[in-house]
């Protein structure tokens, strides 16, 4: 048997069931992968291949036509297309950086110190994981207009700083840092700020990458919600929606944009996977 399963040396495994489960995994794996493979192939299909009957999954005569057309569409768009790309990159970068910084700064005292209010604050953060942002959407709209932040980058970026999942994961991860290390720094005369910045932060690098992935998942795909309405502040996600709305003639171009959209988060995940898994190991909820 050349199955990739570790058949040997494992207790309580029979190869028959292994084979069966492996087949099931392969089956569900293809269910997950086929739509993505289909988008990628569509991006390289020439127009006549996009509309043949019966439809095909794989491309036969690959072409870069769709990407060339994308540039054509970009030239005709009302604001330069590069502006959408800039908006998405800027919102994602600023939101992620700020989130990692603020969430780590807040996670350090919660993970490593006991002080007045620490339990209550953390409980509130955990409770806030239990409802979705839809609940707060309308009041947030009012708060944004009260702050005068409507139709600006910060309306999307600043709330992302205080996203609860990041703080939660960071805090759980920081709890593993040995106290002895922090004590040693303290004896050497380091202030809390220095301990946080020079001892704790370098140690939680895997958790940064995890927060990066999670924020990317959220911000890279944002369309600005109800907060952004000027065209020059709209995101790539929004532009992509417009291109797809263009209907049947734009099917290939739409797939090309989709491929560009999905490449960035997927590549980021590939590069950071082992770190992300390491962080998630400490994600558990203790009673």
């Amino acid at each position: 048997m050349k199955l990739a399963i570790r058949l040997n040396k494992k207790v309580n495994r029979s190869w028959q069931v292994d084979a069966l489960l492996f087949l099931a995994l392969a089956g569900f794996g293809s269910f997950m992968a086929v739509p993505l493979i289909y988008v990628i192939n569509n991006a390289f299909k020439p127009l006549d291949e996009l509309f043949i009957f019966p439809p095909t999954l794989f491309v036969r005569n690959a072409t870069l036509e769709n990407f060339a057309n994308l540039f054509q569409v970009m030239k005709n768009s009302w604001v330069p297309f590069s502006r959408y790309i800039f908006n998405t990159v800027f919102i994602t970068a600023a939101g992620t950086a700020g989130h990692i910084l603020l969430a780590s700064a807040a996670a350090y005292p919660l993970a490593k110190h006991k002080f007045r209010g620490s339990k209550v604050l953390f409980t509130v953060v955990v409770l806030s994981l239990m409802f979705s942002p839809h609940v707060t959407a309308i009041p947030n709209y009012m708060i944004m207009s009260a702050l005068g932040w409507m139709d600006s980058y910060q309306a999307v970026i600043v709330p992302a700083f205080a996203y609860p999942l990041g703080l939660y994961l960071m805090k759980q991860f920081m709890e593993q840092i040995p106290d002895a290390l922090l004590e040693a720094a303290k004896i050497d005369g380091a202030s809390e700020y220095r301990i946080f910045w020079q001892v704790v932060m370098p140690l939680v690098k895997p958790a940064w990458l995890t927060l990066l992935i999670l924020m990317m998942q959220m911000l890279w795909g944002t369309d600005g919600g109800s907060f952004i309405y000027s065209e020059q502040l709209k995101t790539l996600h929004y532009a992509m929606g417009q291109i797809i709305q263009g209907g049947i003639a734009r099917a290939g171009v739409g797939a090309a944009v989709a491929v560009i959209m999905m490449t960035v988060p997927i590549v980021t995940f590939i590069l950071s996977q082992s770190n992300v898994i390491q962080t998630m190991a400490s994600s558990g909820m203790k009673d």
């Binding site: 239990m130 707060t136 009012m142 700020y193």
Partner: protein
Amino acid sequence: MQKVKNTAEPLIQPRLSPSGLRNYWALFGKDVRRDKHLYVLLAPYMVLFLLFTVLPVAISIIFSFTHFNMLEMPRWIGWENYSKLLWNDDVFLIGVKNTLIFSVVTGPVSYIACFLFAWLINELNPKLRAFMTLIFFAPSISGNVFFIWQIIFSSDSYGIINGLLMQLGVIYEPIQWLQDPKYMLGIIMLVQLWLSLGTSFLAFIAGLQTVDKTLYEAGAVDGVKNRWQELWFITLPSMRPQLMFGAVIQITASLAVADVAMALAGFPSVQYGAHTIVTHLVDYGTIRFEMGYASAIATVLFVMMLGSNLIVQKLLKRVGE
């Protein structure tokens, strides 16, 4: 020497005599002064968190008892919004019904799928494990690429499913998958499941890798006979913290279904076939601007989410006890 770690608990428990109370506040102040650096580190995050998460919940609950349309001042009307929701709004009840059907199916199914796939992937060698993790996780991270399902279930014969079925001779006319309320909810469930192997899936993969390997050998000696017993008696109990975390993520996501429904079935969907609580909220909050009424919907959603999460947490705490 300076105290090494700020673990000092308040020294005196507050007594209810006036002097005790004064002592309590004096100690409180002293503690806060001692830990001021910690509060400084916490402050930026907490200020934003209170402003954009805690305060909105409070505002939403308060406005749910008012009539408010962003133009006139809010007017207090007591429980009227809620009684209107329950007795006079048939569309809301359709939304509740769809949301419940949806979350009762996708919630548990996606939760079990997350665990099952993580468990199967964990048996593979590290290289293949990393690859399969990517395959299963990729859809949830690819943003709105789920629009591809719109093409797959397209109502003309160019749609993959229609094309395939017509080729096989199962049907002769393309089926209007996303316009027919008969199929709508099922397709949205399918797509939502496709997207649902996200954060909790990763948490389970990670959790499985941290289960103490010697437990399995010890279990085999103690008479654990097959992988299923191993799963039930060793793996699941050791993963309880991750299982609880995953439950929170999956429950919240399954009750919040809306984006996929609106993108695939349109908004509003034909005969409200894909109408959910969140799409009802979007309708009143961002289209009709009946903010008081929308706040009542948001509050109902909030109570449902928090309630079901807390109940499931209680149940999961009992696993393996």
